[in-house]
Amino acid sequence: MQVVQVENITKSFGNLRAVDGISFSLQSGEILGLIGPNGAGKTTTIRMLLDIFKPDSGNVAVLGGPMDESKKDLIGYLPEERGLYQDISLEKCLTYLASIKGMSTTLIEERLGFYLERFDLTEYRKRKVKDLSKGMQQKAQIIATFIHQPRLVIVDEPFSALDPVNTQIVKDLLREEKTRGTAIIMSTHQMNQAEELCDRILLVNKGKVMLSGPIDQLRRQFARPEILIKSSAPLPQDIPGVDRIQTENHHQRAFLEQGASPQDVLSEMVRRGIILEQFEIAQPTLDEIFIQVVTGSGLDA
């Protein structure tokens, strides 16, 4: 089921065009990685999805139609900067935020207990929010985002301030929600997390979509003619199709000649009796794709 449909939206603030014709869609049970440099227009796009801003032009459809107040209870939002009431207890803060999402007191009590336990915050429920560590506050904010079991979740830097253990808990939660059918938009600068969790990527820069699609497809699109090889002995330099070989920390990198096939290079190595421990077509990481696209060096890749 299509949960989000954004068509050619634009938004300007004075002379600044923050969003310039962005379009994308999102299905239930899908995680979309919204990535881009600072000031790219990600937050403005999110705020238009959440109906905080109205687009100057274009259409935003959420859960089957234009965004309205009734749909707010079906959406969860985790902002980049934590937004919790500091002077009240964790329990009161989360109860209030859940109540304005339309949850009954009984349901809040039930789910709050579950999530506090899951995030190891039960013993801190009576503690004032301001007395909690940044990591604990981030976990609290995550609880506030998911407690009402939304159908669309927008998370902005969800792993910020979390240690590896808690990062894993949040990853598991995101995967569970995806399995449950929740549509998730994850805005992040942590490309490894996006690679690990997202089905598709939407890379925006200067208010425009620079790149979009499934991660594997993007990797193939940006793949370079390079092979990572780990062998028992140094590789000979005269392998047909190989332009040069560079030794790196744990492997050697073979740069192929234009039009050379990795398959042919592999066959030649086997034919020569080279014992291979690793033979991998070097695909770019999301980080590398990001840098290429944003700096404009790889748009024609």
Binding site: L50, F53, E69, L97, S99, I100
Partner: protein
């Protein structure tokens, strides 16, 4: 409506449960009680409880009998007649009396009295002596004449068209708008202060960004205004309750009616102006809260409209002495000053209906315009962190 109620409830409970609120609510009545108690103790300690004595050398008060005076805060004393000066002086020397008043033979012509005392006699001794002389001199007169001379005249001021009249003794007619205006200013400052803090805090700690994904900015703003107004009114009600208990106590002790009687006109006028007045200030406070970057700046900017609210008190003399003066008319029509000025003018003069109507219409129109502007400013400014929003931007901004 349910979400507005939830926000209202949250804002209200969060405030009234704080130590600061409880302290603020209880401190004022406690201070008043303490001040009264201190005053009573101080006066009581300074007051001499011994009787006073007198000797009548004029012969005009031979038939006079000393009467009990009505109870007062200082306390009553007895007045004892002595046959001659030496008997009185002996009593004074033995500390049986605090003072001896000797009414001179030519008292009727000169009013001369010589008082003997070891130390300065207390005020109640003088007052009791004065009452005794006045009552005794009038003893031959009819009771009604006696009362009229001792109580004075009751002058009623009436307008030519007969629409307004006020008794000079009816102190409450003038005091009412003064007090209600003062209460309005106190309550709106308390509520406005809380509102301002709430908006600035939520903007600063980014909670607003989370909350507006659950409710509309208008719902959030309405809930906040109502919640914080409720806090101010609660504080006011508690103070009034204490005041009522105090007045009831005084009424029971002194058997004098301290409770004011209000006319429907007074209440209608006050409510007709105070309601839009509240909305106006609350909307302006909200607008300031979302437009500035921190609480300190918010307080400074909010003085732009909290100061004009007290302007009628600066010009109180002019308003009371010259209620028809252009300055008085302007003050009673201008929305920020009308709440205090108009009831004050109407209490002492006959104000043309068009002026009352103009004040009500202008205050309501300003309140609604401010509310609309605040809603627009709320949307525009709620997510602008570390940046001040100018009025021009808000005016130019579209609905969202």
């Amino acid at each position: 409506m349910k979400k507005i109620w939830l926000i209202f409830k949250y804002e209200y409970i969060r405030r009234v449960k704080t130590r600061g609120f409880i302290f603020a609510v209880l401190s004022m009545p406690l201070l008043v009680v303490l001040a009264i108690l201190m005053a009573v103790i101080s006066v009581s300690l300074q007051t001499n409880k011994l009787p006073a004595g007198y000797v009548d050398l004029s012969g005009n008060f031979a038939e006079a009998v000393t009467q009990e005076t009505s109870p007062n805060l200082i306390g009553d004393i007895d007045l004892i007649a002595f046959p001659d000066v030496s008997a009185g002086q002996d009593a004074l020397a033995e500390d049986q009396i605090q003072a001896l008043f000797v009414i001179q033979p030519d008292y009727l012509q000169s009013g001369a009295i010589i008082a003997y005392a070891n130390e300065r006699p207390s005020d109640n001794a003088y007052e009791h002596m004065q009452d005794f002389l006045q009552t005794s001199l009038l003893s031959g007169e009819d009771t009604a004449v006696q009362q009229r001379i001792t109580r004075g005249s009751n002058i009623t001021v009436r307008s030519l068209d007969g629409t307004l009249q006020a008794s000079m003794r009816d102190w409450f007619v003038v005091l009412f708008p003064f007090l209600t205006g003062l209460i309005f200013i106190i309550v709106i400052n308390i509520s406005g202060g809380y509102l301002l803090q709430s908006v600035v805090d939520e903007k600063e700690n980014r909670t607003m960004e989370v909350v507006v994904t659950s409710v509309s900015p208008e719902q959030l703003m309405t809930g906040k205004i109502l919640g914080n107004l409720g806090v101010g009114l609660t504080q006011l009600l508690i103070w009034l309750l204490f005041a009522g208990i105090g007045l009831a106590g005084m009424q029971a002790i002194y058997r004098v009616d301290f409770f004011p009687a209000l006319t429907l006109d007074q209440i209608a006028l006050f409510l007709g102006l105070i309601l839009p007045g509240f909305i106006l200030i609350a909307a302006l406070m909200t607008l300031v809260g979302v437009s500035v970057t921190d609480m300190r700046e918010a307080q400074q900017v909010s003085m732009l409209f909290t100061l004009p609210m007290v302007a009628p008190y600066w010009f109180a003399g002019a308003l009371l002495q010259h209620p028809g003066h252009p300055l008085s008319i302007i003050l009673s029509i201008f929305p920020l000053t009308a709440v205090v000025s108009m009831p004050l003018r109407t209490s002492i003069s006959s104000v043309p209906a068009w002026q009352i109507l103009a004040a009500a219409v202008l205050t309501w129109a300003s309140a609604l315009a401010a509310l609309k502007l605040a809603a627009r400013g709320f949307r525009r400014g709620m997510l602008q962190y570390q940046r001040r929003i100018h009025l021009k931007e808000i005016l130019r901004a579209k609905k969202s």
